[in-house]
Amino acid sequence: MPELSYREAVRDALATAMRQDDNVFIMGEDIAEMGGSMGVTSGMLEEFGRERVRNTPISEMALAGTAIGAAMQGMRPVAEIMYEDFMTLAAEQVVNQAAKLRYMSGGQLSVPVVFRTQGGAGWSPGAQHAQQLEAWFVHIPGLKVVFASTPEDVRGLLWSAIYDDNPVVFFEHRTLYGIKGNVPEKIEPIPIGKARIHREGEDVTVIATGRLVHESLAAAEEAEKEGVSVEVVDPRTLQPLDEETLVASVKKTNRAVVAHEAVTRMGFGAEVASVLQYQAFDWLDAPIERVGAKFSPLPFAPVMEQFVVPHADDVLAAIMRTVGRGD
């Protein structure tokens, strides 16, 4: 099986789609010669030319809106919003327009656009370049939201997002771009809306997204040494959520921890916890734990950044609390 980095996996999905489908093109800031601020689109200008690798001015509203307009006419554009924080600028078009055009027209049109963006803390990007805002977008009917955490998943899911006829907000995590993983020889589309069980266990289910998938796997290893068997599940698609898989897992283990890098309070994890509480009420042997960032903007100084953002030991502590062995 070939090995690709997460970054290469994203590029592979984009390039493969563009090679076989003229309707697919990419647009974003600095994606041409520079190959994107995260190097994702590196080499694509050379292969596909300026027509299909469109460098835009710093205009997130036009970026998003133009992609929407082209999608309404049958193209399949993939718009890159350089930092997740700048989704705030694009949000009017994503939320008021893309999410609702099909609905308001009574089903007359569809908007097959993908908004790719990346976020996350690490190496002191500062408060305005590190947010994890998935909770905002999962809250908007009409949008699909994906957050893959491995090269195989990001490639297969981006492919599915491109070919989904709905607007998809596709989150990537900046610290994952360099991780390597095995991928199938040919792109295998991964269905949107299906979770992935990374590790099976008996005592507690950890539901994690993005970077926290890897932190949770590390925590699970440690927990194993303490005699606690941990199941780690990545929902991969945040909207629609694979409730069936998550609930089945918690019914098996009777305990749950939800872990994400985004701020815990009012976050995506709160919705997951609520779903689990409702559907697995009589199976719960402990309150559902949530692991996430503390309620603060991201500080600059590394020691403070470390403090705010969750890590494997936070997941481990939560795991141990669910089995009654924590503080």
């Binding site: 009777n254 009420f281 009589d282 199976w283 719960l284 042997d285 402990a286 009654g324």
Partner: protein, 396 residues
């Protein structure tokens, strides 16, 4: 809802403190921030402030050493009711339930509660509900004394909680019968059995030849009324002889192996379920088994069984076929490693080699203690039983 006042951790490494005296009395108004009691830690004696305003409803612990986190008092609104707090271990100066302002309705004794509500996880509640276990009879080992699933499945043997006097019926319809010792024993043993990790295996046997055999035996020896149960006893004894790894008992340190098949037969006696044992059944003929069994059952029905009649069993057969039960799962008879539940023999249509036959089938379910016996072992054993029933010649 009343605020629980718990002993705070006032310093790193502080595990407990000694309440010297209360600065406020029960019924007195307390303001948040006001000194509430004096506490002696190993470093210093200090005043501890109230964390809430209200009326000091109840002082759980008037003085003495208390671990950090223990509830020592309740602050709330005037007239609010507060339940007695369960003491995890006997302490010399425990709060007496009587000193609390007595609420109007009956109070249960000793529960991990706040205001009469038992703290138990949803899973624990469901398990208790399913097994008919009263939550108030369980001690919780979870955080804050919460009852968790484990507490329901393996209740702590120590801490003898006062037998909760079930609210006696006041209406005329409900009658309450105190438990006999036998019922208590059954309950205790079977609850214990329930905590064992078991698995069950089910098989159906063609009883054509077995039924013929029993009928012929009755013809030949009319005084000894051989029954299917007798045949089963013989068959199981032979099977145990052939599969000695089934004739075992689990203990914490070792697996005990028995040389003889002492087969118990579950009997519904007037006083309750009893299991008299046919000892060394592998050495007895079918006729002998029938005779022993006949005697045991007669004495069971007259409540005349002796200790040696019910001791030493290594395996149990429970036959509910005469009650038209098709199939059931029996609860283990501890400390035995397995028990066979037998249902009625019924004619069923069975396909064989592309044709349909009407076959008298009897369904049996083997419950095994997974600590002592594995699936494959149980399956082999059950397979032998089936084979012996279908071809009794093999076992006689």
């Amino acid at each position: 809802m009343a605020t629980e006042v718990k002993l705070p951790r006032l310093g790193q490494g502080m595990e407990s403190g000694t309440i010297v005296r209360w600065l406020k009395s029960e019924g007195e108004q307390v303001a948040k921030g006001e000194p509430l009691y004096e506490l002696d830690t190993d470093k210093v004696t200090q005043e501890v402030e109230a964390e809430a305003s209200g009326v000091l409803l109840k002082i759980e612990i008037p003085e003495g050493e208390v671990e950090v986190g223990r509830t020592i008092a309740f602050i709330g609104k005037e007239g609010e009711t507060v339940a007695a707090v369960e003491a995890p271990a006997p302490k010399p100066k425990e709060a007496a339930a009587e000193s609390a302002p007595e609420p109007k309705e009956e109070q249960r004794v000793s529960e991990p509660t706040t205001n009469g509500r038992i703290k138990a996880s949803p899973l624990a509640r469901r398990l208790a509900r399913e097994r008919g276990i009263d939550l108030s009879s369980i001690q919780g080992t979870g955080p804050d004394g919460r009852i968790v699933a484990q507490d329901v499945e393996t209740p702590a043997p120590a801490a003898p909680r006062a037998a909760v006097p079930v609210t006696q019926a006041r209406s005329a319809e409900v009658t309450s019968t105190p438990l006999t010792n036998i019922r208590k024993t059954i309950a205790r043993r079977l609850t214990e059995a329930w905590t064992v990790p078991v698995f069950t295996l089910t098989v159906s046997a063609d009883m054509t030849r077995a039924t013929e055999l029993v009928a012929r035996r009755r013809e030949l020896e009319p005084d000894v009324r051989v029954t299917v149960t007798d045949l089963l006893t013989r068959v199981c004894a032979q099977a145990l002889a052939r599969h000695p790894e089934m004739n075992v008992q689990y203990t914490e340190d070792a697996l005990l192996s028995f040389p003889n098949a002492n087969v118990g037969i579950a009997v519904a006696a007037p006083q309750g379920l009893v299991v008299p044992v046919v000892h060394n059944a592998e050495q007895l003929t079918l006729t002998q088994i029938a005779q022993v069994r006949g005697d045991l059952v007669a004495r069971a029905r007259d409540s005349k069984l002796r200790a040696e009649d019910i001791d030493g069993g290594t395996f149990t057969i429970s036959n509910l076929g005469m009650f038209e039960v098709d199939q059931f799962v029996a609860v283990l008879n501890p400390p035995q490693a397995s028990i066979l539940a037998v249902g009625a023999t019924r004619e069923q249509v069975v396909p064989r080699d592309g044709e349909f036959f009407v076959v008298p089938l009897m369904t049996m379910t083997l419950t095994c203690d997974h600590r002592a016996v594995d699936g494959a072992t149980g399956a082999e054993f059950l397979k032998s039983i089936k084979a012996f029933l279908e071809f009794p010649g093999l076992a006689l």
